[in-house]
């Protein structure tokens, strides 16, 4: 009896250890398989097999279906009907299958030609989980749904401001060979953090075929190509980092105007303080906020050109301007709420809404956040010294090198880059379009003013949001500022910033 039990256990164990049988993917029967030679094209095959050159969509659709079912046998999908490469093996359907397809084929629905466009999944990774940004994302989802009704969209979001948690999850998925089909990426040098030459797909062809180079402004294109001279993502929006928000009622009651220079900042802050109001509110709990505000202080102290130089090595971090920027930041902190390390940027923003805080500096997602809070009594201005400078960041979507549903992902990127997609996304998200042709009437007053500035200001890249520097450098930069906020030690902070630049391999 005991022996039987042991045998039974043993057998059970063996069964449990047996590898899972390969998932049952239906194979697609090919009537013939033909290897492409020079001067072949799809219409030629259609003529040869079906006596009708116009039957080529049947071959394309059938081949893509076969390639979807058995990628080892048909590794190459036909993405462009006019482009098949020598050496590809193309699956030819039987005459009945071809006729059946042609009977239902609608040239207005090109997705019928892409097997994956007609079915399967689209796994979208982002850190947009709540509020306007989630609504904007859903807006793009519904456009995708109408274009590709049979694709199941899997919304793989991970919560956490500035995407820090999401990125950690994503990186393990990329290294582990289990990437989503597309994911959110800050446009700019953040791409370096994903080793794009290995893990991402360059999107240069997509830019060419969709005419995206004409749709986006040149400054943005430079930013998008900053790493390795390839496009790694399709931008869906532009945010501005340098916005000073203020409580209008307080400013009016005290007869103040938003400060345009550092001297004015001191005057305004002193007046607010005398009125019993915390002049400047901020939260530093999540670690990136100090770095965010300081980049605006840097731009406002150094000016656009020297600020850009910091990230290319043209401006040394030992520059007296950096010392002055740190002094300015320290001065701002002396007017701030003392419990800032207990607050996130939005919980600090509550003070401004409640009327106990006067000003804050935060990116223009604050506009959407105020709206969601039902607060309308806010005004905005560029922080001191940054009039005429637009510190920009942009969210884009990228495609991993081995995305499981490549065609679905490509279709998604087309939606992201399209006018329709951007007009659905941005008014909800509270950002302006990356495209230059969006209709301003769709946007609120703040965003309309941002669109005007975007068109005329000097555009510089945000470091706190992944545009200006490699992520490893941006992290070191952020650590230095976290220490500075506590210590107020200007010399140590400047040395730390210099060291971070050296570690990044930009400075000597």
């Amino acid at each position: 009896m005991k022996r039987m039990l042991i045998v039974a256990l043993f057998v059970g164990l063996l069964l449990a250890l047996l590898p899972m049988t390969a998932s049952a993917q239906g194979t697609v029967a090919c009537d013939d398989e033909v290897v492409v030679v020079k001067d072949d094209w799809l219409a030629k095959f259609a003529d040869k097999y079906f006596g009708n050159p116009y039957a080529w969509p049947a071959i394309m659709a059938w081949h893509n279906k076969a390639a979807q079912a058995d990628p080892s046998k048909f590794p190459d999908k036909i993405i462009n009907a006019d482009l098949i490469e020598v050496g590809w093996t193309v699956c030819i359907p039987s005459t009945e299958d071809a006729d059946a397809f042609l009977a239902t084929y609608d040239p207005a629905k090109p997705e019928m030609l892409y097997a994956a466009g007609a079915s399967g999944q689209l796994v979208v990774g982002s850190w947009w989980t709540a509020g306007g940004e989630a609504e904007g994302l859903n807006g793009m989802f519904s456009i995708y749904k109408t274009r590709y009704p049979d694709v199941e969209i899997v919304n793989a979001t991970v919560a956490g401001g500035a995407g820090t948690n999401f990125k950690a999850v994503l990186k393990t998925r990329l290294i582990g060979g289990d990437p989503p089909d597309t994911f959110q990426l800050h446009a700019g040098l953040e791409a370096e953090g994903y080793s794009p030459e290995t893990y991402l797909t360059p999107l240069d062809d997509l830019y060419a075929s969709e005419g995206l180079e004409q749709a986006f402004p040149p400054d943005l294109l430079t930013l998008l190509k900053a790493y390795g001279d390839h496009y790694w993502g399709v931008p869906v929006n532009i945010h501005r980092s340098n916005v000073l928000w203020y409580n209008k009622a307080i400013f009016e009651a005290n007869n103040l105007t938003p400060p345009a220079t550092w001297e004015e900042f001191v005057t305004v802050a002193d007046a607010l303080k005398a009125a019993g109001i915390t002049p400047f509110v901020l939260g530093t709990k999540d670690g990136w906020e100090a770095g965010h505000i300081f980049e605006d202080v840097l731009a406002g102290t150094l000016g656009a050109e020297k600020y850009n130089g910091l990230w290319t090595g043209a401006t040394p971090w030992s520059d007296p301007g950096v010392t002055q920027a740190l002094e300015n930041f320290k001065m701002m902190l002396s007017y701030a709420n003392t419990d800032h390390s207990a607050h996130t940027w939005d919980s600090a923003g509550e003070f401004l809404i409640a009327g106990s805080g006067g000003m804050m500096i935060m990116g223009d997602w604050t506009d959407g956040w105020f709206t969601s809070k039902g607060f309308t009594g806010y005004g905005w201005a560029p922080p001191p010294g940054t009039r005429g400078i637009f510190v920009a960041l942009s969210d884009s979507f990228a495609m991993p090198a081995n995305a499981p549903n490549e065609t679905n992902a490509m279709n998604w990127l087309k939606v992201c880059g399209s006018l329709e997609g951007q007009e659905a996304f941005n008014p909800q998200k509270g950002s302006i379009c990356a495209r230059t042709d969006c209709n301003p009437a769709l946007f609120n007053a703040y965003l309309q003013s941002a669109m005007v500035d975007w068109g005329q200001d000097a555009i510089v890249a945000s470091v706190a949001h992944g545009a200006a520097a490699y992520e490893s450098w941006a992290t070191d930069y952020k650590d230095v500022l976290t220490l500075f906020v506590a210590s107020g030690d200007v010399a140590a902070a400047q040395a730390g910033l210099q060291q971070a630049c050296v570690d990044a391999g930009i400075c000597q």
Binding site: R3, I6, L9, F10, L13, L17, T164, K167, A168, K171, T172, L174, I175, E192, G193, Y194, S195, T198, Y199, T278, T284, K285, D286, G287, N337, T338, D339, H340, S341, A342, F351, S356, E471, S472, T475, D476, D479, T482, L483, V485, A486, S487, G496
Partner: protein
């Protein structure tokens, strides 16, 4: 008879082997892999496993943030251990007086242990939120205000000097019930005759605690130190939910820095080095205990 024994032996080897294999690969194999990664040049997402020796450790120990982290770990461990042991012991002594409703008190003190550190972190973030002079106090500080004890107010976790102690307070709240339960079990195992004998010899209650009970509870104290010690060295979730790295890294700990530098900064080798340092710290605490307990088992 002999054949049968062999058969059972074979079966036991076969049945144990998956667990042994899984442990070998997923625990010790990965420890080895992490140790190797910490000696490599893996500083981007794309693995670069070329060997660079101990340079990652040199840079790590020279890193100001990591030095603060180590200091925080030491302070946290000391405060947390001492507070848990003292509070747990006192609670156990009080409960051991056979008070009415002992079961209720026991449950109340033990309940915090049953919730996760994440919840504890959120609750204590609000309780120890200092508020500000401009906008008024919150949490415990406003309680002090109400009681006229304003001088006790503190910046708690926003004070760079004592920030980590505020986190230790939250951890103590959660885990001192656990030490209480251990001590209570230990106290109940001490035969009443011993105390009676001491009383007959004229010992005061304090003397009984000092000379009879404490020495007899020594093994319990040791177990508690081991369990609490390794919790405190590895602490991560409480810090994440309560404070994050804090102002000037006041509440940063090595485990948080490991996560931050690996997945945010892409310094994979540096992250692996922190992991190994953490492992060594825990091993220093646990290995002697393991050796001792296996020896005791062998003697039995």
């Amino acid at each position: 008879m002999r054949r049968r024994l062999n058969w059972e032996r074979v079966a036991s080897v076969v049945l144990l082997s998956p667990a042994v294999l899984a442990t070998a690969v997923f625990v010790y194999g990965f420890i080895g892999w992490t140790a190797y990664a910490s000696l490599s040049n893996w500083d981007r997402l794309l693995p670069d496993l070329s060997f660079v020796g101990l340079s990652n450790y040199e840079k790590l120990f020279a890193n100001q943030r990591f030095q603060i982290d180590l200091r925080n770990t030491v302070v946290f461990t000391l405060v947390f251990l001492v507070a848990c042991l003292v509070i747990g012991f006192v609670l156990a002594l009080l409960l051991d007086q056979r008070v009415a409703g002992e079961g209720i008190f026991r449950s109340i003190y033990l309940f915090p242990m049953s919730i996760s550190f994440i919840v504890t972190g959120v609750v204590w973030r609000w309780l120890l939120n200092p508020g500000s002079t401009e906008l008024g106090s919150t949490g415990i500080n406003s309680l002090f205000d109400m009681l006229g004890l304003g001088f006790l107010k503190s910046g708690w976790y926003t004070d760079p000097k004592i920030g980590i102690i505020a986190v230790a307070i939250a951890a103590t709240w959660q885990m001192s019930g656990y030490t209480m339960a251990m001590y209570l079990a230990g106290l109940r195992a001490i035969p009443e005759e011993l105390r009676e004998a001491a009383r007959v010899d004229g010992a005061s209650e304090v003397q009984i605690v000092r000379h009879i009970i404490l020495p007899l509870l020594q093994p319990i104290t040791l177990s508690a130190v081991i369990v609490l010690g390794h919790i405190s060295l590895k602490i991560y979730d409480l810090v994440v939910s309560m404070t994050g790295p804090g102002i000037g890294f006041a509440t940063d700990v090595p485990a948080y820095y490991m996560w931050d530098t690996t997945f945010r900064g892409n310094h994979f080798a540096r992250g692996a080095a922190i992991a190994i340092v953490l492992l060594v710290m825990v091993a220093v605490l646990i290995v002697p205990y393991l050796i001792r307990s296996t020896r005791t088992e062998a003697e039995l």
